[in-house]
Symmetry: C2
Subunit: 149 residues, 2 copies
DNA sequence: CCAAAGGGCACCGATTTGGTGCTATTTGGG
DNA sequence: CCCAAATAGCACCAAATCGGTGCCCTTTGG
């Protein structure tokens, strides 16, 4: 399905909140108090992001999570990839542009290559959305000033 | 997850095959013989596309399916929408741009609006991919000659 | 008139997803 | 110095989704 998982949604809410708290460590509890998200789940998600180096964490009484890098350097593509794996579109997709992969349909598959182009376009869109642009949508244009129609 | 369902994949394979058989009715069996797809499932998917007016069907001995409209008029967005529902990205999404919807997070949700912009970009990508461009990728550029970076 | 095809629909097994339980470890503050 | 608040790490479960079939009916060409 072409939809983010709840985990990704929670991650985005949490991360955007972290943008406005540069440097401070924010606890999962605080996030769950401010937004209607299950505290344990948001913690689980943030742990995962910590393992992948997107956020720093501090344990103990005044612990919590903080962005590990500037908000402008963290892209939506990266977040999604960590939590859901790289967006593939097709099941026979090994993940990289030219790779043949182990698709049993492969030799006869008529849609493989064109669909991969679509996939790359979508990745491109996600790659150009930064945490910064999510947190401050009106600051500067999120992507190239969308004028296509 | 940011991935098509098998149903959608099968639909794309089938539909692309139909492009090259303009006018002829192609049976689900023939499709299953040519590609490694479960015949029953591909039939089920084509039935769904028929109900939505994307393909015509003919019953009886020499029956089968054929495109109901020119391949250039059928977009990937349309196919996906029929089989999976409109690409939403977020769970709180009622599907249309300005709609407030019934999201319980809504009042406090900080990512709603920017994510909707991303969603619209993705829909845009899918809207510009036609069955024709999937069937003949090299004929004319699939979308606007991608030059963004 | 029968075999081949689609129409309808219910259903099942496997996987994914959303969410929780439990326990251990760290750490700041009274 | 110890306790409360936090994260770390799993394992686990219930519900939803998804991939795929079974069954029976109707249509239709040879």
């Amino acid at each position: 399905m072409l939809q983010f998982t709840k985990r990704t949604e929670y991650a985005l809410i949490a991360l955007v909140h972290l943008v406005d708290r540069r440097g401070e460590f924010v606890s999962a509890r605080e996030l769950a108090d401010r937004y209607p998200v299950p505290p344990r789940l948001v913690a689980e998600v943030l742990k995962e992001l910590q393992r992948e180096g997107l956020v720093d964490s501090q344990r103990g009484a005044a612990g919590g999570y903080a962005l590990a890098r500037p908000a402008a350097d963290i892209t939506l593509a990266e977040i999604v990839t960590v939590l859901e794996g790289a967006p593939l579109l097709t099941s026979c997709d090994t993940g990289f542009a030219g790779t043949a992969g182990s698709c049993e349909v492969e030799p006869t598959c008529p849609i493989r290559s064109p669909i991969h182009r679509v996939r790359d376009r979508i990745r491109d869109v996600l790659s150009h959305v930064t945490l910064e642009s999510l947190a401050h949508p009106n600051a500067l244009p999120m992507v190239t000033p969308t004028e296509n129609r």
